[in-house]
Each structure stands twice: as structure tokens, then as C-alpha cells.
Symmetry: C2
Subunit: 257 residues, 2 copies
């Protein structure tokens, strides 16, 4: 998962488990697609397939929201779209600021998926004076100096940090001081925030590392064993420390199997 909350014990939110909350947007996307094709009802099985989960999980998830289906029939698509949107808070408007308008910030600003839900990009903010005033995705980039003013004037409660790692904590502190209580962090740093502020992080390199872990295991599992991929990388031997034991026995002197 590219993700993780920070404050607030992982206790259920108004009875809805976190794992379920994290899947609601998935269901919503699948339902929206059905709605656009004017499909009136859908079974848990069909919807689950479209969302990439299994049907028992989906039904359990929906049971936390209420009894919105009809036995023997399925779920009314429009009705469910509304209920999930409401549950997620998407029936209201969420002004968002994006701080750090490099490639990633620009990509986010241009990303259609925001506007289509209740999210509205209220401002783009960058520390580079040369960027100030330049239009990105139809909005003029504002300078960091105006951050507090922008946040309070627009009633922004969600901030997106797309700055380099070094600037992230400082930006975060200013966002929080200005009144923001939810942060989506793309910088590869652990942010520290006061209680009551939610942080979610998206870390591209972490995702790749998790893939590499599984990829490595696949290679090891192969019947021909281990040598498919040339050991091209860093031949680095293990530093120091003889005689430690891992779960498989002693540390190999050179590379793992």
C-alpha cells in the first residue's frame, strides 16, 4: 500500500472499518462507470469483479453502510452512488491546495480525477519566484509567501505536498498552522503533525521496492532455480559482522540465493 494514516488510533470511524473506507472509492468508480452506461442494477458479484475484490467482502463492506440492496435482485446503481458519495463526503465541495509545482505537482493539477469528485483545486503554490504567475492547468501559480492567506481565504482543509523531501516538513508546518487538517504527502519523508491532523502518504519508490521483493521471490521459486536474471547489480559483499544468523541459517558471504 502506498498509504497509511497517521494520527487517531485505527479505530472504526462511525462504525465503518478503515479497510472498508479505503475500498469505497473503488466501488464508487465502478458504479459511476455503470451509471454512465445507464445500468440500473448490479449484483454483488458483478460489482465486485468490476472493482477487483471478492463479493463476500463487498457485501460485508456495504453492510456497514446500511441495507441498500434488494435480495434476489442486487443493488440500485444510482442509489448506491449517492449513498457512497455521501458517506465519503463527496456531496460537498473540498477546496484543495497543491504545494510544489514540479512535474508531479503539474501532473496532479492536470489530473481530471480530482475535479470529477468533489475536489476543486483552489490554488497551486510554489516557492520558486520564477514560477509565480505562470499558468498551470489553467491556474496561475502563487508564491509560497501567500500560503496562509490562500488557505484561510478559501477555507481549504486539504493540502497536497509535492515538494522535494527537504521542504516537506516546513511546508507541512505552515499548512497546519494555517488551519489545514488533512494532508496528502508525496514527498519521501515522515511528516510530524499535531493530533487531529490526518496524513496519508504516497511513495513511488516504496511501491517499487515492494514489487521488487515479490519479483525476487518469483525468481527464486523457479524450477530452474535462481539464475534466470544475471546478477548484474552491485556485487557488494555484506559489511562487517560475522556469525549473525538469519532465519535461513548463516548470512551468506556473497549474494542470496
Amino acid at each position: 500500500m502506498a498509504t497509511g494514516r497517521t494520527h487517531r488510533p485505527a479505530t472504526r470511524s462511525r462504525g465503518i472499518p478503515e479497510a472498508t473506507v479505503a475500498r469505497l472509492p473503488l466501488y464508487l468508480r465502478a458504479l459511476t462507470a455503470l451509471s454512465e452506461r445507464s445500468v440500473p442494477t448490479v449484483s454483488s458479484e458483478e460489482l465486485a469483479t468490476a472493482a477487483g475484490v471478492n463479493s463476500a467482502k463487498l457485501r460485508k463492506d456495504f453492510s456497514y453502510l446500511g441495507s441498500y440492496g434488494t435480495r434476489g435482485v442486487g443493488y440500485d446503481v444510482e442509489y448506491l452512488v449517492y449513498q457512497i458519495s455521501r458517506e465519503l463526503g463527496l456531496t460537498q465541495d473540498w477546496p484543495v491546495v497543491i504545494v510544489g509545482i514540479g512535474n508531479l505537482g503539474a501532473a496532479l493539477a492536470n489530473y481530471g480525477g480530482f475535479a470529477s469528485r468533489g475536489f476543486r483545486v483552489a490554488a497551486l503554490i510554489d516557492a520558486d519566484p520564477a514560477m509565480a504567475g505562470k499558468p498551470v492547468a489553467g491556474l496561475p501559480v502563487r508564491h509560497t509567501d501567500d500560503l496562509e492567506e490562500i488557505v484561510s481565504e478559501n477555507g481549504v482543509s486539504i493540502g497536497v505536498i509535492a515538494t522535494p523531501a527537504g521542504a516537506a516538513q516546513q511546508v507541512c508546518d505552515r499548512l497546519v498552522a494555517a488551519g489545514i487538517t488533512s494532508i496528502l504527502n508525496f514527498a519521501p519523508t515522515v511528516l510530524s503533525v499535531p493530533d487531529g491532523v490526518d496524513v496519508r502518504k504516497v511513495d513511488l519508490s516504496i511501491e517499487l521496492q515492494i514489487l521488487a521483493f515479490h519479483e525476487q521471490r518469483k525468481a527464486g521459486e523457479e524450477t530452474g532455480a535462481a539464475v534466470r536474471r544475471a546478477v548484474a547489480g552491485r556485487p557488494a559483499a555484506a559489511p562487517g559482522r560475522e556469525g549473525r544468523k538469519g532465519p535461513d541459517g548463516d548470512v551468506p558471504a556473497v549474494m542470496p540465493a
Copy 2:
């Protein structure tokens, strides 16, 4: 979470729980920072703080890797960096292709975090003929026609999809057919892949929706109750269906509290 695996039951991978695997990159980042500052050893408490987890969890996580610490002292930084890198497969070289060189693809290509671990961007691929040959992050963009050739010639096993949603499944199919077994998907679609192929997804709008959910709850919890944020958004009344019951009783005619 911006994330989720697809194939392979969520069974432990060589004894290491998925949740632990997902945290190893975090520990590795914190350890790398310590290593750069030439810190020789670190306690579970210090490292946990740096990584943003609690120390019991960290110790449990490390216990799956082996007994790499010293009681009364802590962990040797260099040694742990090596062990975790090895476990994650980062001691070898992973050529990666990025497909879809828009803003997001360019951001990924320029992202330093890839190269610094074992990941090497082998090629950038885009379907737009006008992009072909243009340099992005120092690499010439290649046309989609050459996808299969690029993948097989470079022994690429990890593909990153940064195309629009509509193109993602098709690109995915071609990557898989060309031999790729791990995919990082940024397009907001559920990809279907054969067994043995891992997919992780990063979905920006899903993260925002999860934040909105919690943000909405904060507003509801406030002592002044509910009305802090002007109800600016879509006043849309619930469609159809009278008399359904949610967990809090009947569906409100207009907006939730």
C-alpha cells in the same frame, strides 16, 4: 492505502508478512539517512520514531528477518541497511520501463528515488509519435511499437503504467505478453492480469477521497456541530427509493449531519 496486491493469496512470503514487507522500505530510508550521518548504531525506539512507527512493531518486523540486533545496544546501521536491501532484492539491478510520458510519467522519470535504489529506468515509452525521440530525464522517448522489443532486450521485469485509464489495460496486456511480471499502475482502472503477475496501484483520487471521509467526520465531531463548513457543494437530493434504512435510521431527505 494507495495500494494493493492482486494475485497470490496474501499468504506470507517466505515467512515475512505483507504488512512487514510494506514497512521495510520505510526502515531502509530512515537507516540510509542515519548511515549518511555516519551514525553507527540505533535503538528500536529511535529508528521507529524516524520511520514513523512504534518500536514494538519495528522489533517484531525485524524478528522476521533474523536476530540482527544486540540486546542492551541496538542495531548496527550499516549491517541492517544491507540485510534489508538484500531482503527487498535491492542488491540487484531492476530495469524498469515507464509507459505513458505525460506529466506524471515525466515526474516519475525524473524522480531520484528510483535510481538511488536498485531501479534503473531502462526506457520511456509513449504512444504519441510526436514524442518519439524527445529527451525526457536524459532518455529519448520510444514509441509504443517497440515495447516488446525494449522489454525483452533489456530483461525488464517491472513496468510502470502512467497512461490515461483508457489505454491502461491494453498496455498492461502487452507488457505481460512481453514477459513483465510486476506492474505499478497509476491509471485509475482495475487491471486484469494472469496468475503470477503482481499489480500494485497508486490512485491519487482514492487517497483524497479517504482524506475527505475523515475530514467530514472531524467537522461532524466538532462541539459547535456540523456547520463550520458552508454547505457549498452539490445540493443534490438523494435519488429515488424511499424508506431505506441506513445504520443511523432513515435516509435524510437532504444532507447528512
